[in-house]
Symmetry: C2
Subunit: 683 residues, 2 copies
C-alpha cells in the first residue's frame, strides 16, 4: 500500500466534503427570507460577528507572524546550529498554514451560520421540520469544512515535507489559533449573555431577546463567535493534533501511516453519510434526530473501517479495535454527560428542587454533581487508554483518539446547529413572528442545548486522549533530540523521580489558573457592559418604555465585548505558554513529561466539572421556567437564575477552553523539546 495513494484519496475526500458543503450552503441560501425586521437584525448580527472576527484575526495575525519568525529561527533546531535550514522554513510555513486553514473554516462557518439564523426563524413559521433542516444543514457546512480542512492540511503538509515532525508545526498553528478563538469567543459570548440577562430579565423583567436591550445583538453575535467559530477551531485543533501525534508515533511504518489517513478519510465519509441522511418527521423530536444522526455516523465508521482493515494488507485488527474502543468510549461519555445535564433526568431536577432553599443550595448541589460527573468520563478515558495500549502500544492510544474523533464532522454539525437555532429564536422574538413560531424555535433551541452538553463532554474527552498520545509524541521528539546530542535516552517518566514530580505539581496548577483568569475576564468585562447598559437606559429617552423608533446603541455593547475579550484572553494564553517554557528550561524533558501529565489530569477534571456543572445549572433554570418548583418568578427561579449565571462562564468560556490550553501546551513542549534538551538548568 503506497502512502501517496492515501494522500491523493485524502485530497479527493476533502474535495467531496467541500463540494457537499457548497451544496448545503446554496440550499440554505435559497430558503425564504422576507421579514424586513428579521433581515435587518440578522444583518446587524452578521456585521457584529464580522467586526469581532476581523479584529481578532488582525491581532492573531501579528501574534502568528512573530511566532512564525521564532519558529523559523529556532525549530526544529536553532538555525545557527547548522544543518537543515529548509526544515525551519517548512516548519514556519506549516505553522502559518495551520492558522490560516483554521481561520478560513471559522470565517466561512460564521458566514453560513449568520445566513441560516434568519432563514431558520422564518422556516419555524411553517413548522419544526423546515426550521430544523435549515439549522442542521447550516451547521453541517461548518462540520464538513473543518474536517475537510484538517484532512487536506495534514495530507498536504506531510506530502510536501515528508517528515511527520513538521506536522507538529501545522498542529501548533491550528491550536494556537484555537486557544484564542475559543477563549476570546468564550469571553465575548458570556460577557454579552450575562449582561443582557442581568439587566434585562433580572432587573427590568423584560423577556430574553427583547430588542430594547442594548446587549441583545451582542448576545446573538456571541453565540456565533463562541459556539460556531470557537468550537469549530477547538475541534479542528483536536482533530489535527490527533492525526499529527498518530503520524509522529507511526514514524516510517507505511502501514500505520496509511491506517491513520484511511481512518480519517472513512470518518469524513461516515460524517457525510450521517449528515445526508439526517431526517425529522413533521412533528418530530429534534434531539432524537440529532442523536440518531450521530449513531448513524458511528455505525457507518465502524463498518467502513472494519471493511478497510479486512481489505488492505498490513492493516491490523488490533489497531481497528483500539480506534473502535476510542469511538465507543466517546459515545458512552456523551451519554453519561447527558445523564448529568438533561432536565428529564434526576440530577438536574435535584438542583432545581434545592433552589427552593436559596441560591447557595443551587450552587452547592450543582458543584457537587459537577465534580461527581467528572468520574465516569475520567474512568472511561483511563479504560480506553489502557485497552488501546494493550492492543497497539502508544500507537494504539493515538488511534483511539483518531477513532474517537472520526465522527467529529457530525459532532461539529450538531454543535453549530445550537447557536443557529438560538439566534433564530431571538430573531423570531424580535421580528414579532408570534407565539407559536417562538415555541417551535424554543423547542429547537432546547435540543441544541442538550446536544451541546454532550458535544462538550465528547470534545473534552477527545482532547484528553489526544494529549495522551501527544505525550508519546513528545517522548519521541525528546529522544531524537537526546540522541542527536549524544545524551542518555528517556525510557519513561517516573513519578518517583522528583524532577518529574515537580513538573506534575506545577502542571496541575496551570489549568486551574488558566480557567480562573478567563472567568475573571468575563467577570470584569460583564461589569463594564452592565454599566454601559445602565447608562443607555438612563440617557436614551423612551428606550425603557419601548417607544416606537427609539433604538439602543447596539454597537457600543459589541465594541465592549470585542475589546474586552481580546484584552483578557492574551494574559491567560501567554501564562500557559510561558510557564511551559519556564518549566522546560528549568527541569528539562523529564520535568516537561510530568508537567504535561499534571496538565492533562487537572485539565480533564476541571474542564469536565465546569462544563457539566454549567450545563446542569442552565437546564435546572429551564426546568423551573417550564413551570416546575414554582415556575417563573418563584424563589426557586431566582436561585436557579443565579446558578445559571455562575454556570455561564464555566460551560462556555473556561471549561471548553481548557481543551485547547492543554493541547497548545503539549505541542509547545514537543516543538521545543530539542531546546529543552540543550539548555535546561537542572534537566
Amino acid at each position: 500500500m503506497e502512502t501517496e495513494y492515501f494522500y491523493l484519496l485524502s485530497f479527493l475526500t476533502a474535495a467531496v466534503a467541500f463540494a457537499f458543503a457548497g451544496y448545503l450552503y446554496l440550499w440554505v441560501k435559497r430558503q425564504r427570507t422576507v421579514n424586513e425586521k428579521i433581515i435587518e437584525v440578522s444583518e446587524l448580527i452578521k456585521q457584529g460577528a464580522n467586526t469581532f472576527m476581523s479584529r481578532e484575526y488582525k491581532i492573531l495575525a501579528k501574534f502568528g507572524f512573530v511566532i512564525a519568525i521564532i519558529i523559523m529561527l529556532l525549530l526544529p533546531k536553532p538555525i545557527w546550529s547548522g544543518g537543515e535550514w529548509q526544515k525551519n522554513i517548512m516548519m514556519g510555513l506549516a505553522y502559518i498554514a495551520g492558522t490560516i486553514l483554521s481561520a478560513i473554516a471559522g470565517k466561512i462557518g460564521i458566514l453560513v451560520a449568520t445566513l441560516s439564523n434568519s432563514r431558520a426563524a422564518e422556516g419555524a413559521q411553517e413548522g419544526i421540520k423546515p426550521a430544523f433542516l435549515i439549522g442542521f444543514r447550516g451547521g453541517a457546512v461548518m462540520g464538513l469544512l473543518v474536517v475537510g480542512c484538517s484532512l487536506l492540511g495534514v495530507a498536504a503538509v506531510l506530502w510536501v515535507a515528508g517528515d511527520a515532525s513538521i506536522l507538529l508545526g501545522f498542529s501548533f498553528g491550528a491550536s494556537s489559533l484555537a486557544l484564542f478563538a475559543k477563549a476570546g469567543g468564550g469571553i465575548f459570548t458570556k460577557t454579552a449573555d450575562i449582561s443582557a440577562d442581568l439587566t434585562g430579565k433580572v432587573e427590568l423583567g423584560i423577556p430574553e431577546d427583547d430588542p430594547r436591550n442594548p446587549a441583545v445583538i451582542a448576545d446573538n453575535v456571541g453565540d456565533n463567535v463562541g459556539d460556531v467559530a470557537g468550537m469549530g477551531a477547538d475541534l479542528f485543533d483536536s482533530n489535527v493534533a490527533a492525526m499529527a501525534s498518530a503520524l509522529v508515533i507511526a514514524g516510517t511504518n507505511v502501514a500505520n501511516i496509511s491506517m491513520v489517513f484511511c481512518y480519517a478519510i472513512l470518518g469524513l465519509i461516515a460524517s457525510i453519510i450521517g449528515i445526508a441522511t439526517a431526517r425529522i418527521g413533521k412533528n418530530g423530536n429534534p434531539t432524537r434526530a440529532l442523536n440518531s444522526s450521530t449513531y448513524v455516523t458511528t455505525a457507518a465508521f465502524l463498518v467502513l473501517s472494519a471493511g478497510a482493515t479486512a481489505l488492505f494488507e498490513g492493516f491490523s485488527w488490533k489497531i481497528w479495535g483500539a480506534s473502535a474502543v476510542g469511538l465507543l468510549v466517546g459515545v458512552i461519555i456523551g451519554i453519561t454527560t447527558d445523564y448529568f445535564t438533561d432536565d428529564s433526568k434526576p440530577i438536574v431536577r435535584k438542583a432545581a428542587h434545592a433552589s427552593n432553599s436559596g441560591p447557595a443550595f443551587t450552587i452547592l448541589t450543582g458543584m457537587a454533581y459537577g465534580f461527581i460527573s467528572a468520574m465516569p468520563a475520567m474512568v472511561g478515558i483511563a479504560i480506553s487508554a489502557l485497552v488501546a495500549f494493550k492492543l497497539g502500544g502508544i500507537f494504539g492510544i493515538s488511534m483511539a483518539a483518531v477513532g474517537m474523533l472520526s465522527i467529529v464532522g457530525m459532532i461539529i454539525s450538531n454543535d453549530a446547529y445550537g447557536p443557529i437555532v438560538d439566534n433564530a429564536r431571538g430573531l423570531a422574538e424580535m421580528g414579532g413572528l408570534g407565539e407559536e413560531t417562538i415555541r417551535i424555535a424554543d423547542e429547537l433551541d432546547s435540543a441544541g442545548n442538550t446536544v451541546k452538553a454532550v458535544t462538550k463532554g465528547f470534545s473534552i474527552s477527545a482532547a484528553g486522549l489526544t494529549v495522551i498520545s501527544l505525550l508519546g509524541a513528545f517522548m519521541a521528539e525528546a529522544n531524537s533530540a537526546l540522541l542527536a546530542a549524544g545524551k542518555e535516552l528517556i525510557t519513561g517518566f517516573d513519578i518517583m523521580d522528583p524532577t518529574v514530580f515537580f513538573g506534575i505539581l506545577v502542571g496541575a496548577s496551570i489549568p486551574a489558573v488558566f480557567s480562573a483568569m478567563l472567568i475573571l475576564g468575563v467577570d470584569k468585562n460583564a461589569q463594564r457592559m452592565v454599566a454601559e447598559i445602565h447608562h443607555q437606559f438612563d440617557t436614551i429617552v423612551g428606550l425603557k418604555e419601548g417607544k416606537a423608533g427609539v433604538k439602543p446603541d447596539y454597537d457600543k455593547c459589541i465594541d465592549i465585548a470585542t475589546t474586552g475579550s481580546l484584552k483578557e484572553l492574551i494574559p491567560a494564553g501567554m501564562m500557559s505558554i510561558v510557564s511551559t517554557i519556564a518549566v522546560g528550561f528549568i527541569g528539562g524533558p523529564l520535568a516537561i513529561g510530568g508537567f504535561l501529565l499534571g496538565n492533562i489530569v487537572s485539565g480533564l477534571l476541571i474542564a469536565l466539572f465546569m462544563s457539566n456543572a454549567g450545563g446542569l445549572w442552565d437546564n435546572a433554570k429551564k426546568y423551573v421556567e417550564a413551570g416546575n418548583e414554582g415556575g417563573k418568578g418563584s424563589k426557586a427561579h431566582k436561585a436557579a437564575v443565579i446558578g445559571d449565571t455562575v454556570g455561564d462562564p464555566f460551560k462556555d468560556t473556561a471549561g471548553p477552553s481548557i481543551n485547547t490550553q492543554i493541547t497548545v501546551v503539549s505541542l509547545v513542549a514537543s516543538l521545543l523539546s530539542s531546546l529543552f534538551v540543550a539548555f535546561s538548568i537542572f534537566g
Copy 2:
C-alpha cells in the same frame, strides 16, 4: 547512637508535654466563671459535644473492631500463608492503639475547649488580655496532647514491634479515625452553622447566637466537634503518617531512625517554648500574638535541630536542610494563604466589591481566586520535594514532611483557639455580657478565623508532602512483597505505562467525588434541620417573639446534626477505601502507584481551592458587615452571605477532609501491597 536512647527520650518528652498540658488545664479551670446563664449554656454545649462524640466513637468502635479483625487475618500477610502470625497480631493491636490514642486526644481536647469557652467569655469582661490567654491556653492543651500522643505512640509501637512496617497499622488507625472525625465533625458543624444562619440571620433578621434560635447550641457544639476534635485528629494523623513513612523509608539505618525521633522530640520542645512564651499586651493584637508564637516555634526548632545535627554523630546536614526546607515552605504557604483570605488584603476586597453586582459575581470571583490560590502552594510543595530529594533522596522528602510538621503542636494550639473564642462570643451574646465584651470577643474570633485559614493551608501542604513520602513507603512495601513472591521489583511508576496511567486518572477523580459526597451530605442534612427549625418556630408559642421562659428544643437540632452527619460520612469514607482496593486488585501495584499520585494531585488542588475560596468568602462577608460596600443589609451584603454559605462546607467540611482521605488511601495501599502483588488481575 543507640535508638533505644531516643525511645526513652521520646517517652520523657511526651511526659513533659502531658505535664505541661495538665498545668495549663488546671490554670484554665481556675479562671472565674460566675454568670449562671453562661454556665448553663456552656453545660448544654458540653453535653451536646459529648453526645456527638460518644455516638460517633460507638460507631467507630464497631467499625474499628471489624477492621482490626481483618488486619489480624490478612496483614502484613494472610495468616494462613504461614509464617509470622505474631506480626498480624501486632499489626492489629497497633491499629487499635492508633484509633484509641486519636480518640483520647480528641476527647480531652473537647473537654478542655468546652471548659475554656465560658471562662474566655467572662474573661473578655476584663479585657482582651485575660480572654486571649484563656482561649490560647485551652487550645494549647489539645496541641500538646496530640503531639505527645503521636510521639509516645510511634516510639512505643516501634520499640515493641521492632519493625517499622507495623507503624503503618498504627498510622492507619490514626487516619481512619481522623477520616471519620474530620468528615463527620465537618458535616455536623456546617449543618448547624448554615441552618442557624439561614433561618436566623437571613429569614428572621435576629442576630447570630440569639438564644431563640433552636440551632444555636448545635452551632456552638459544631465548632468544637469539627474544629477541635476534627482538626486535632487530622493533624495527629498527618504527624503520625509523616513519622511512620520516614521510619519505613529509613529501614534499618540507625542514624536515620535516630534523626526522625530526635527531630520530632525537638519539634515538641519548640512548640512548648512557643506556647509558654505566648504573650499579648493589654490592648494587643491577637492575630499578631498568634503569629509571633508560630515564628518563635519555627526559629526554636531550626536552632535546636541544627544543634542536634552538630552534636550527634551520623546526623546529616543535608537531611537537616531537607527538613528546614519543608518547614520554611510550610510557613511561606501559610503566608500566601493569608494573602488570599485576609480582609486587609486586595483579594477579599475584590470579592466584596463584586458582590455589588449580585451573588453570581461573588461566587465567580471567589472561585476564580480560589483556583489561583492553589498555585503558590502546589509550586511550593513541588520545590520543597525537589530540593529535599536532591539533598537526601526519598528519605529527604519524608524528613521535609517531618520538618514541616515539627511545629504542629503550635499549629493545633492556634487552631483550637478559634472555636473556643468563637464559642465565647456566642456565650457573651447569650449571657448578656454587654456590647464592649461582645466587641472584644469579636476581635478574638476574627483573629481565630484568619489563623484558621493559614492553619488549613499548612495542614493541607503537610499532608501533601507526607503522602509523597507515603508513596515511597508504598514502593518499599510493594517491593518487599514482590521480592518474597519472587517477582520482578518495581523501579518506579512510569507515566507512559498504561497501567500506571489508568491508576492516575481514576485516582484523580476520587477526591472530587469524595468532597462532592460530603457537600451533598451537608446540603441534605441542613435541609432537614431547616425544616425542624421552621417547625419549632411555627409550633412553640412565643418563641419568635422572645417571650420570657420560652425555650426552643435545642436537643432536637443536635440530634439531627449528629444522626445525619454519621449517616452521610460512611458512604464517602467507604467509597475512597473500596475504590483503592478495587484499583489494586484490578491493576496491581503499578496501578496503585498511579492511583496514589492522581489522588495527591487532584486532592491538593481541590483541597486548597475549597479551603481558600471558603475562607475568602467568609472574610468578604465580614468585611461588608464591618460597614464596607454598603454594610449590613445592603445588596452586597446579601450576596456576600450567599457566598459565605457556599463557602461553609467548602472550607470546614470538604476541603480539610481531603487531607485525611488521601492519607487513608495511601495507607490502605501500603498495608495491602502484598495482597495486590498476590491477587491482582492485570498487575
